[in-house]
Symmetry: C2
Subunit: 310 residues, 2 copies
Amino acid sequence: MFDAKQFIENSLKEIKLDVGDNRVISACSGGVDSTVATYLVHKAVGEKMIAVFIDDGLRRDGEPEFVVRILKDFGVNTRFVDARAEFFEVFKGKTDAEEKRKAFREKFYSTLGRVAKEEKIQFITQGTIKADVIETVKGIKSQHNVLGQIGIDSQIYGYKILEPLRELFKPEVRMVARELGLPKEISERMPFPGPALSLRVLGEVTAERAAIVRKATQIVEEETLGLGTFQNFAVLHNDKATGIKNDKRVYGNIITVRIVNSIDAVTAQASQIPFEKLMKISKRITSEIPSVVRCLYDITDKPPSTIEFE
Amino acid sequence: MFDAKQFIENSLKEIKLDVGDNRVISACSGGVDSTVATYLVHKAVGEKMIAVFIDDGLRRDGEPEFVVRILKDFGVNTRFVDARAEFFEVFKGKTDAEEKRKAFREKFYSTLGRVAKEEKIQFITQGTIKADVIETVKGIKSQHNVLGQIGIDSQIYGYKILEPLRELFKPEVRMVARELGLPKEISERMPFPGPALSLRVLGEVTAERAAIVRKATQIVEEETLGLGTFQNFAVLHNDKATGIKNDKRVYGNIITVRIVNSIDAVTAQASQIPFEKLMKISKRITSEIPSVVRCLYDITDKPPSTIEFE
């Protein structure tokens, strides 16, 4: 049985030992993993740590403001980096899923590396958890935060990596969050991938297309609040389909809604939520987002699907 | 109230009058509309009519054999044209929905025109119904069999067009079929579009991709037999998604399942069929078709979607 209290005790000691007299930067996306990692390191080394929130233009509606507010509530030194234009620049012309992940990863690390250099910092904290490591090693996907596992030397980016949660699965991370006394909006927070909405824009990721999936995501999250499902999100297809708007034929966008039940993200089940709820989501998405004419619901478990599309 | 018996009486007289001493060809796809039209003209002018079944490589599993057998059972002179290679040729490099419809229409008419010429025939019978006319005129889609409505002179293809069902809606066509004593497998047959599986292969239509959606369609039809829904089918996306097969990451195909309730195809509702059924369809499609990793269910009514994707 996992003992969260014991884990925290050991972890704080190890982090102090690892960091020594160095300074640490923690990339915090607002997800449960990176927020717990940030808070642990903050607790361990205090003023030696700076949290960085990188706004890559791919966050959910209201998320940048939410994360910065939470970090301030924790009393953490926080730096906000607006890198939206830079991220959309590197996605230009890229449509392949692995190329997009790679582009995100490189931009993420070069941005973090730049900040670390400016701040004269040697250590980066990340919220890598065990499922990320397993899937990267298995070749199921390349997690952007598991560099060492795939043979990339993080030193080339100019810093060492600290991953205090790498031995934990998601439910254990949540237990640690509760034990640390973090608010429910963090400890019970729905998983959200590192490369964020870029995985949910099939084809080229542009600011306009990210805005469409951001709005659809907001609708899905509003309508599924309290369902208790593991992850609820929207995906914008690159494919288009015919539809009818204002009595005219249009060739418009397709959104898929994905809602899954899972314990640890290693396996997952398509959630059998009530049809009226699905129809309400479909009607809202196709009416509140003018370019969308069609809404689909993902009915595939993991395996054979992954939770995300890319 | 529509009187099928009266309609048939009037129709037979009109057809005889229209055709006169000419000979007629009837393009029969096996759908209820074209089969009823074919049978009506056969009844009206007998030996003056030849039915043509064009195998465009885009028909459902077993359909070419089924249609030819039915026509022979009716005692209709039937000509089978294998045009599969020609059709796939014209789809090469085409990904836009309207371009694909246009390519299909042109190849369909040139093939029919060629046969009509060989047979020295002036009249073509088609199963156009009122919904086709309305949607073409409204610009919702261009039906391949409503040439006159969109200002195309059918004479350029070398023949005149006979459309005995153009004033009827789908339920009336079915009443006529029953009144004519056609077997249930025709009178209650699910609608199937003229351009067939080409509308259900998003992106380029190739023989390989048509085979994938044909297999998925067969699974959907088997699993939804007896549900009493209006139309049940599968669509192959051009987009791909990640999945896991044999413990390895793959970047595979996506299939959408579309099942709708409708009276006349002018409006339609996404069918709220039991989740266990949807999950069974998803599991069969992703296991019986190796390249497919993800299965989606369309939850959009018409409007704002159309029934088909293209």
